[in-house]
């Protein structure tokens, strides 16, 4: 028999409702696994076993009364960017010190409402800025996958939601919350061989999530299957009057949409995503994905998204600009770290120097510069115009296609010591994912194959605004065809 930690979220839910498994037993097996593996993986910054067990007991009681909600008794990891009432929230930064929010983010409140159990707070790149999880004040996360024959070469799990993705891949949670500003859900999902969706901007409330770049940030789930992501998103999503950018739309039954199939769907294949020097394995996987979808009854259409190549530089103006302003509140006055200084300005400068890591400081400086007098038009305004063109590319594509298929990342997971000294090379990780953030559209990363060294690779499905249902249907079709059953070398009960 499989270990409990090997169940998918949907399977675990069925077993809980049938009372084949007790919620306490399920949670306990994850806590045991965390205890065994987290010291090496460092996927969690904070583990909350007492809270988790208390929630599991409550879930067990609810199940006994026959009052199961959509996630009753399901153990999850929460990216440590979501404020959780009474539980330290760090954003993986020193600057938040021992900040304990007296409030709950809307997403985590929704999950609690639906009966979820929180195992702890997952590691991430500081303030969600990074693609490797190396930028965490609490140390990097190790990817549970390893290259064949190199069990001691630690690889990155991707970022910024590296702790969430690694925890789910290593079976240290059934699913996790994550956030995506330029690819921070989809890239780590691809690196860790799991699924993850960044929904449409406005689908999930940002209230109570530590902000990085407000016009790009969206929360979404990572989980081992597309259907598990659909179940989690169903609970996370929904209108929230406390977020002025939240869309007042009903939440569809995403899980039901998974089984729709792709018959008759038109799938766009954007030629601009075929990069010079792209690994042949990535290209081959993409072609394989096209074949799978055709076999399942979809038609594929080559499309053009001509401004794609400008997406990354656009992102690296817009995101740092917003971040430079969003992170101004970390000033050592009302919460978090304070480094005393000879006057207030000195206090600010010392606090922010000591509190922010190198990458965060770099982005704040870039953002401050592009907004500063004399440069606003040339950088920020220019970027917002190019952003409008990127969105227009997609708007025009939706006239011809129902969804778009691309690779999720330009490579498989890389080693901890690679790319760390060249910010621009690191930024290129997001080349396929960042367009969805700029255009505000949903994007799903699905594990679809392995590279020559046995590392997972993902495909990405993009969809129309607020049409996550089609995205799930396409993603599910790929998942079925890919029959991705490989498992990471480091995992619970392995």
């Amino acid at each position: 028999m499989n270990a409990l930690t090997d169940l998918t979220l949907a399977e675990a839910r069925a077993a809980l409702v049938k009372r084949d498994v007790s919620a306490v037993e399920l949670t306990q097996s994850f806590l045991t696994a965390i205890e065994a593996l987290n010291p090496r993986l460092n996927a969690y910054i904070t583990v909350t076993p007492e809270q988790a067990l208390a929630q599991a007991h409550a879930a067990e009681a609810a199940l006994a009364r026959g009052e199961a909600r959509p996630l009753t008794g399901i153990p999850l990891a929460i990216k440590d960017l979501f404020c959780t009432a009474g539980i330290r929230t760090t954003a993986a930064s020193r600057i938040l010190g021992n900040f304990v929010p007296p409030y709950e983010s809307t997403v985590t409140a929704n999950l609690l409402r639906d009966g979820a159990v929180f195992l702890g707070k997952a590691n991430l790149d500081e303030f969600a800025m990074g693609s490797s999880n190396a930028n965490s004040a609490f140390g990097g996360v190790e990817n549970p996958w390893h290259r064949e024959g190199e069990p001691d070469t630690a690889l990155v799990p991707g970022g910024s939601s590296g702790g969430s993705a690694a925890a789910v891949a290593a079976r240290l949670a059934l699913g996790a919350t994550a956030t995506d500003t330029g690819g921070s859900i989809r890239q780590p999902a691809a690196f860790c061989g799991i699924a993850g969706i960044k929904p449409t901007y406005g689908r999930v409330s940002r209230f109570g999530i530590v902000a990085f770049a407000s016009s790009l940030d969206q929360a979404g789930p990572v989980a081992r299957t597309v259907e598990d992501c659909a179940i989690l998103l169903g609970s996370m999503a929904g209108f929230d009057a406390r977020d002025s950018t939240s869309a007042d739309l009903p939440v569809p039954d995403f899980a039901a949409a998974c089984a729709r199939g792709v018959k008759g769907l038109r799938i766009g294949i954007p030629k601009e995503y075929r990069l010079d020097g792209m690994a042949t394995e990535i290209e081959a996987l993409w072609q394989q994905g096209i074949a799978w979808l055709r076999d399942a009854g979809a038609t594929t259409v080559e499309i053009s998204l001509p401004h794609t190549k400008y997406a990354l530089p656009t992102y690296y103006i817009v995101a740092p600009a917003e971040a430079s302003s969003n992170l101004a509140r970390y000033d050592g006055v009302r919460f978090g770290l304070r480094e005393e200084g000879e006057d207030l300005k000195d206090l600010y400068e010392r606090t922010r120097r000591a509190g922010f890591g190198e990458e965060v400081r770099r982005r704040i400086l870039i953002g401050t510069y592009v907004l500063s007098a004399g440069y606003y038009d040339a950088y920020y305004l220019k970027a917002q115009r190019v952003r409008a063109l990127i969105k227009r590319d997609f708007d025009e594509a939706w006239g011809k296609v129902d969804a778009i298929l691309t690779p999720a990342t330009p490579s498989a997971a890389f080693g901890r010591d690679e790319k760390q000294n060249d910010p621009v090379a690191m930024y290129l990780n997001d080349v396929f994912t960042v367009t969805a953030n700029l255009a505000g559209i949903p994007g799903l990363s699905v594990p679809a194959g392995l590279d020559a060294k046995g590392l997972p690779l993902g495909l990405q499905v993009l969809g129309r605004p607020f049409d996550e249902e089609t995205v799930f249907a396409v993603g599910h079709a790929i998942e079925r065809a890919a029959r991705f059953t490989a498992t990471p070398s480091l995992r619970a009960a392995a």
């Binding site: 999530i209 902000a211 002025s244 950018t245 430079s324 302003s325 509140r329 009302r334």
Partner: protein, 483 residues
């Protein structure tokens, strides 16, 4: 004659523009549900949004938008159906987010105009450049500790309207008149209580000087002046300082200054050194503010009558002098009081009593309309007693004094104190007969041609009647009996 300041090199013109920050009258703050009440326990009216906590997001208060639109309409200004919020980025201890949410590029209200009246009776139109919505900052207390400043965030996030005038003002008097008029309009509209002591209305004063016929020279901004008198003083102090700089061959540097009210001078503000690089950009937490034209029409239809219209009506319909109309419309409460008194009565008589004896009574007791001991209804009732001859004018004045002192209604005072005037001719004649009998010599002199003695007989008669004789009857009967 236009206002100038004399320097060593001759006369200088002063150019003034005002940026007025008016706290919007609302229950809750602009972007949070915390209360706005003045004087609460420090940091007790603060939400996590106001304190800039991680993950907190702004949600706009619709009433604050309505108040801005009403004010725009009251300033004869253009309402922009599409506007947007921007972030103004700077670090300050009482600015929790590290930015102020304001409207930089696209304000909710565009150009408008108001009319000011000066002491010599002349009128002048002052252009309004714009009105925009923004959040207030918290309050820093610098005098509580020798080496620390204390921060109270109760005011953080309270809705403000920043109302910017064109540089159309040319003297301290005009600046004062403009601010007075603006305050009057806001109070009529009920969009700001205009309370300058509590900081609900504060002005940043932009001042520059120039020689006649020149274009504009460099201006300085004197921040946060909190009374009309100080605005007028600050204009003059800053203008004199600039004149001195120019005349000594120096250059006025554009900067932010503070008015030191105790010394009557302005000084440079150290904390504003980043003032020239606020890194404005559209607030990504807030979609654009889109207003329906129909809603603007609805707000317009429900606007109260504004001071200019009311003053014109008092002159046109009621036949009041422009001066009385001006005095009665200065404060919304006064006008409302007056209209209650005047309703169904002679408006001119009502105006005389309100601006005359009633105001004198308030002055004497240090009260205002808001806490007047005499209600408008009671003052009206007093005028009725005057009209139906229950009281003479003189008696009515006495009754009003008692009303001011006791707050009792006039009929009760008249009854209790027997202040009703005597109109019984028989009774008056009896008194006159008695006066004439006691002053037979004066009667003879009067009849001998000494007409001036008539006043003596009136006085004696009234005195004997304790002032209660009806003056007309006393006169008529005396004339007949002496004649």
């Amino acid at each position: 004659m236009s206002y100038t300041l004399e320097g060593a090199t001759g006369p200088w013109e002063v150019v003034i523009g005002l940026e007025v920050h008016a706290q919007i009258t609302s229950q809750a703050k602009l972007f949070s549900g915390a209360a706005t009440e003045f004087g609460a326990e420090p940091n007790s009216q603060v939400s996590f949004v106001d304190a800039g906590f991680p993950g907190m997001l702004p949600v706009i208060n619709g009433e604050c938008v309505a108040q801005a639109v009403r004010t725009g309409l009251g300033l004869n200004a253009k309402v922009n159906l599409w506007s947007r919020f921007d972030r103004k980025n700077y670090f300050y201890a009482d600015l929790p987010q590290g930015y102020q949410i304001s409207q930089f590029e696209f304000p909710v209200i565009g150009t408008g105009e108001i009319e000011i009246t000066l002491a010599d009776g002349s009128v002048k139109n002052i252009g309004i450049t714009r009105l925009h919505l923004e959040q207030d900052a918290g309050k820093s207390l610098h005098d509580q500790h020798p080496s620390k400043s204390y921060i109270d965030l109760n005011r953080s996030g309270v809705a403000l309207m920043e109302i910017v005038s064109e540089p159309d003002l040319r003297s301290p008097e005009e600046a004062g008149a403009y601010l007075t008029k603006l305050r009057q309009i806001l109070r009529y509209l009920g969009t700001c209580d205009g309370n300058m002591e509590q900081g609900s209305l504060r002005a940043d004063v932009n001042v520059s000087v120039r020689k006649a016929g020149e274009g504009f020279r460099t201006r300085c901004e004197v921040k946060n002046v909190n009374s009309i008198r100080y605005v007028m003083q600050a204009v003059e102090a800053e203008a004199r300082r600039q004149i001195e700089v120019w005349e000594e061959g120096g250059e006025v540097v554009q900067e932010t200054r503070l008015f030191d009210t105790s010394r009557g001078v302005t000084r440079s503000m150290r904390s504003k050194e980043d003032a020239h690089d606020y890194r404005y950009f559209p607030d990504p937490d807030l979609p654009p503010l889109v207003i329906e034209a129909a809603w603007v029409e609805q707000l317009k239809a429900a606007l109260p009558e504004l001071p200019d219209a009311r003053r014109a009506r008092y002159v046109g319909e009621y036949g009041l002098t422009p001066y009385d109309a001006h005095v009665l419309t200065l404060e919304k409460e006064t006008a409302a009081f007056y209209e209650t008194v005047a309703k169904g009565r002679d408006p001119k008589v009502a105006a005389n009593w309100v601006t005359g004896d009633f105001f004198a009574g308030l002055n004497r007791t240090g009260r205002s309309i808001a806490n007047s001991p005499v209600s408008a209804g009671d003052l009206g009732a007093l005028l009725d007693l005057l009209k139906d001859n229950t009281l003479s004018g003189k008696l009515a004045k006495e009754v009003l004094e008692v009303m001011v002192d006791t707050g009792r209604p006039p009929a009760e005072i008249v009854e209790q104190r027997g202040m009703r005037q005597v109109t019984d001719t028989g009774a008056i004649e009896a008194v006159i007969d008695d006066v004439m009998a006691r002053n037979a010599d004066k009667v003879a002199e009067y009849r001998g041609g000494k007409d001036k003695l008539f006043g003596f007989f009136v006085g004696q008669t009234m005195k004997a009647m304790q002032g209660k004789g009806n003056p007309t009857l006393v006169n008529d009967l005396l004339k007949r009996k002496l004649g």
